[in-house]
Amino acid sequence: MNKKRAFDVTTLPGFTFIAILSFVLLYAPIATLVIYSFNGGNSVNQWGGFSLQWYVVAFNNQAVQDATVRSLIIALWASVISTTVAMMAALGTTRRGRFKGQTAIYMIINQPLMVPEIVTAVALLIFFSSVKIATGYTGLGYLILAHSAFCVPFAYLPIKARLEGMDTSMETAAADLYATPWQTFRYVTLPLLLPGVIAGAMLAFIISLDNVIITEFVKSAGQDTLPTYMLGQLRRALTPEVNAISTALLALTVLILIAFVFLTKKRE
């Protein structure tokens, strides 16, 4: 190693200050939000003593309950569908060597990451409203489909990364030992791929749970998810109930993220 004077950003003047400032900016608002969720008073910025009352209020709020169930249903379906699609896409793009148009395929799969979300939202609104008129169906299916679509790239990336780390010798060995292509997938590829699949599904779940813009445009009346319900609350009087809901959502997300880190770490 000949890098005697490798550039090290941590030695720059003011680095520590900027680093701390960044963390404060990132986490101070979240900390405030969490603290005020335990507020005994009615204000989101005036402390009135410790209490769990807003959690009780949120828990007993029928609208919150409905929105939560709806969010979970959509997120569950979206993560299952998008992960399945993403796994097939990853197998197709990594298990057959290089091919023509590979870059184009990657772009198409990752399209939701690049197209502005508001554009997709408007497009889906227009598209689905004509479908609604044509079919008369107004259920959660539209939201599930829309969420599945934008979750695909998030599920795709960890699966693809895992597949690229696996050479094809395992599949060759399975075929040598009389496994049909399906058996090879079932008994060799899938088990070895599982950490990537689970990681992908978790990411997709969180992304779906968190979505506001597309949901807001696509949902029919009475189809609020937790985030759009909270957005709606902002237009009325703001109470620490929103803090309580946010904190619960945050806790769930953090739990899933910890599991995600754990899973991706374990592979080597």
């Binding site: 060759t172 030992l177 009389y178 049909t180």
Partner: protein, 351 residues
């Protein structure tokens, strides 16, 4: 002499990729491997050994030619439908399955009842002496043990043909010697046809019933180790198998006159004109100056039981003699000696 044929490869050609990237891995290889034999494909790295093996296993489809297994054309049959198993160079053990599950994998895929699979696994694990490791994961085993698991996994379904692609190359010398005799024993005990690939000529000579020597996608010679060693068909084979002296010469009657002007007695088989003589170092005997080809000792190397003499001939060419250290007198650098070579020990190759 009507041994049934296990693998019959006819005029196999294999070209990877197309256009300007095309690589001809196999030119036109025909080979008949008999049932129950230990057959070795020997050749330098890149000569197409793995490609030929992959064609037999079904991982590659030959560009031309056909492959028959016990008389059945399998050229286009997928690998999972061929009664052929492979021991991979990298072992390719399934990391998420235990040793027993790895070994039982083939039988399970064939749909055998769990009881039969368990019995077969126990039997094969005993065969490779790994009974106590059945519940371990592959990564909890040493390299040599992983090698045995790979072997057991390929043997468990009792294939008609077992393919082994340089299976011992990752092992250290001591373990390699052990595994060589182990493989030989397994082959004799199971009676399965082994097609073994190596670039190590000593390994090939000690283990095989027959050897096929390959170079640059062509099969140069097929024969018993003795045939290949004593009667190489050309300079490449003679050079690749063991140490060999080459002398250029011209046929004159029943003799070949070499560069020094000396005429050597040889056994001719119709050759005329310019030829190359291949002589094994152990076939060169030395006496104190007298009749025969005069030479001067340029260098001596003591190798324990044998001594190597580097001899300089009258025309400046060199030849190596390997003499038992105990026999006759020893010679020193600078001594003038006389070389004698038995006519039958001289291979006459076309130049």
């Amino acid at each position: 002499m009507n041994t049934p044929i296990a693998v019959d490869a006819r005029n196999i050609g294999k070209i990877y990729a197309t256009g300007k990237d095309a690589v001809t891995a196999l030119g036109d290889v025909s080979i008949s491997i008999e049932k129950g034999e230990f057959f070795t494909l020997l050749g330098p790295s890149g000569c197409g050994k793995t490609t030929l093996l992959r064609c037999i296993a079904g991982f590659e489809t030959p560009t031309s030619g056909s492959i028959h297994l016990s008389g059945r054309d399998i050229t286009y049959i997928p690998p999972n439908q061929r009664p052929v198993n492979t021991v991979f160079q990298s072992y390719a053990l399934f990391p998420h399955l235990s040793v027993a599950q790895n070994v039982g994998f083939g039988l399970k895929m064939l749909g055998k009842p769990a009881g039969d699979v368990a019995k077969a696994v126990a039997r094969v694990l005993a065969l490779v002496k790994l009974e106590d490791f059945a519940d371990r994961l592959p990564q909890q085993l040493s390299g040599g043990q992983q090698q045995r698991v790979a072997l057991a996994r390929a043997l468990a379904p009792e294939p008609e043909v077992l393919l082994l692609d340089e299976p011992l190359s990752a092992l250290d010398l001591k373990l390699r010697k052990e595994m060589q005799s182990e493989l030989k024993r397994l082959q004799t005990e199971t009676g399965i046809t082994f097609v073994f690939v190596t670039h190590d000529q000593e390994e090939a000579l000690t283990m095989s019933n027959r050897i096929g020597v390959m170079s640059q996608g062509e099969l140069l010679q097929v024969g018993t180790p003795h045939d290949i060693y004593e009667h190489p068909v050309n300079r490449f084979v003679a050079d690749f198998i063991g140490e060999t002296n080459f002398l250029e010469g011209v046929v004159e009657g029943h003799q070949v006159r070499i560069g020094t002007g000396d005429a050597l007695d040889v056994v001719l088989d119709g050759q005329v004109g310019a030829v190359t003589l291949a002589i094994r170092p152990e076939q060169v005997s030395l006496t104190t100056a007298g009749a025969g080809i005069a030479a001067q000792i340029a260098e001596t190397t003591y190798l324990g039981t044998d001594t190597h003499y580097d001899l300089k001939l009258g025309d400046g060419s060199h030849i190596i003699a390997r003499v038992q250290s105990k026999s006759a007198g020893t010679f020193n650098v600078g001594d003038t000696v006389s070389i004698a070579i038995d006519a039958k020990a001289v291979q006459v190759l076309k130049s």
